[in-house]
């Protein structure tokens, strides 16, 4: 039996016609704040936008424990339970993309925040009817990043 014949169920068959990489596929911001300040501010702003922070993954700690040298690096996971439930029930193929996350990376005495633009899900998961939700997520992330960019 060949590997190809294996059990891959291709759920989202629509291969989006992709325009050349545009900057907007990733959303990012640089903060002049130090890493701990930016982390605090990010989590505060996420909450103010109505989301729950579900977990902070400390990638740097994992690496350091294994003997690798790295600057501070965390991934903040967040979401709204209703939205996560609705999407995971109706569109299980989206589960590996849930909940949303933002990477927080120290760069010297400044901090970089980065995430994929939820708007890409409109083409990745074209079966999702509620496209408005992804626009809404994009707006929220932009607004969260603006909070952080503007803070001195």
């Amino acid at each position: 039996m060949t590997r190809c014949r294996h059990l891959f169920i291709i759920l989202a068959l629509t291969l989006a016609f992709l325009t050349p990489v545009a900057a907007e596929d990733l959303l990012a911001a640089r903060s002049t704040q130090s890493f701990p300040e930016a982390m605090l501010m990010l989590q505060e702003s996420i909450r103010e936008h109505g989301y729950t922070v579900s977990r902070v993954q400390r990638v740097d700690i994992g690496l350091t424990n294994m003997g690798y040298q790295t600057d501070k690096y965390r991934v903040v996971f967040f979401g709204k339970i209703d939205e996560v439930r609705e999407l995971s029930n109706r569109h299980p193929e989206m589960i590996p993309y849930l909940p949303m996350n933002i990477s927080v990376i120290a760069e010297g005495d400044q901090t970089i925040l980065i995430t994929s633009n939820p708007a890409i899900y409109k083409t990745l998961f074209s079966k999702v009817k509620n496209k408005f939700l992804f626009d809404h997520w994009e707006n929220d992330i932009r607004s969260i990043f603006n909070d952080i960019r503007e803070a001195e």
């Binding site: 294996h6 900057a23 640089r30 294994m66 299980p92 933002i102 980065i114």
Partner: protein, 346 residues
């Protein structure tokens, strides 16, 4: 009558919004600072606040670089910025240097590319790569491991070749870029003719790889297989398969953990986290922006008695990063996920 005032006010606002000059500083902060640094000192991108760069490059070079980006080398294309916005960004960049702009009229530089090739191999290839493919990783070192302070850009890049001109390359070799590993080759002892020969050779570079060609990789954004086992058995299988692939199992958790009070999570959606720290370390050196893939995870879901195992497809997401080197790692990771999913459900 009473309506007239508000209408005039409205017209005035519309007019002033339409004519307001775009703000270069805030556009730079929004679109460029994340990579090139708030004041152009570099980061994921190379430094821009460099006198010996800004004094030799034309607005046209900067404009094309912003419009076209550097395909496969992280620097994105900005097709959506208006001309006025790009001009505003360029004025902002220009503000970082008060050295006089020395742009010569565009005239092809004459030289012998064959001799240039010999000199290139001797003087340039160690940094810019044998065929001009650039240094590994990009940008400026932070505390991640890198071989060099600033990663030498790719000279075979279609974005670079479209933006540059003979004269700019010539001046870069004559003047060097102070404060970067790129030195003046006149000072290094090459003659002006040697430099012209190298310019001719560099202009023959082109990259055969077309990053757009890979967008059609025909796998969906999510990899999914059905498991003939129960949810619990499938999770156990997954742990075994993971350690068999030299990954370290980290933990399992319900998808909804942290979003609802403990105990109220849907227990039929289980995430399994794992990592290969060496692979991660190498990938972060190529591109620090990969947090969305971290840590590696597989999700096991049971619905209506059917158990499915799924993961993201890193190769599909790779195109978000515009990073050729990272693409190789994404391809590897997609292969690993496929094998894991196969093994788990066998």
């Amino acid at each position: 009558m009473y309506l007239r005032l508000p209408i005039i006010a409205l017209l005035y606002t519309i007019a002033s919004a339409a004519t307001a000059a775009p703000d270069g500083a805030s556009l730079y902060s929004e679109h460029c600072a994340v990579c090139h640094g708030a004041s152009g000192t570099g980061g994921v991108g190379i430094p821009l606040a460099v006198d010996s760069l800004l004094s030799i490059v034309s607005d046209d070079y900067l404009k094309k670089t912003i419009r076209l980006g550097r395909p496969g080398r992280i620097m994105p294309a900005f097709p959506k910025l208006s001309d006025a916005q790009i001009n505003a960004i360029i004025s902002h960049l220009r503000g970082w240097s008060d050295r006089k702009l020395e742009i010569m009229p565009e005239k092809p530089v004459r030289g012998d590319a064959r001799h240039g090739k010999v000199l290139y191999a001797e003087h340039c290839a160690s940094c810019h790569g044998k065929d001009g493919e650039g240094g590994k990783g990009t940008g400026v070192t932070f505390s991640r491991h890198r071989d060099m302070d600033i990663i030498p850009p790719a000279l075979n890049n279609p974005g670079f070749q479209a933006a540059t001109c003979d004269h700019m390359i010539q001046q870069t070799l004559i003047v060097g870029r102070e404060g970067t590993p790129m030195t003046s080759f006149l000072e290094e002892g090459l003659t002006e003719q040697d430099i012209n020969d190298i310019v001719r050779y560099v202009r023959t570079f082109y990259s055969e790889d077309d990053p757009d060609a890979r967008t059609g990789e025909d796998l969906p954004p999510t990899l999914i297989v059905e498991s003939p086992y129960s949810l619990e058995e499938t999770v156990e299988n997954a742990k075994q398969a993971i350690s068999g692939k030299n990954f370290r199992f980290i933990r399992t958790q319900p998808l909804e953990e942290g979003l609802v009070p403990e105990g109220e999570e849907n227990s039929r959606q289980v995430m399994i986290y794992f990592c290969n720290f060496n692979f991660l370390f190498e990938a972060l050196a190529k591109d620090p922006r990969i947090g969305m893939f971290l840590p590696c995870r597989i999700t096991v879901v049971e619905r209506d008695g059917v158990v499915q195992v799924m993961s993201v497809n890193p190769m599909y997401l790779s195109k978000l990063f515009n990073n050729e080197e990272l693409h190789e790692d994404c391809r590897t990771m997609t292969g690993i996920y496929r094998e894991l999913l196969d093994e788990i459900s066998l």
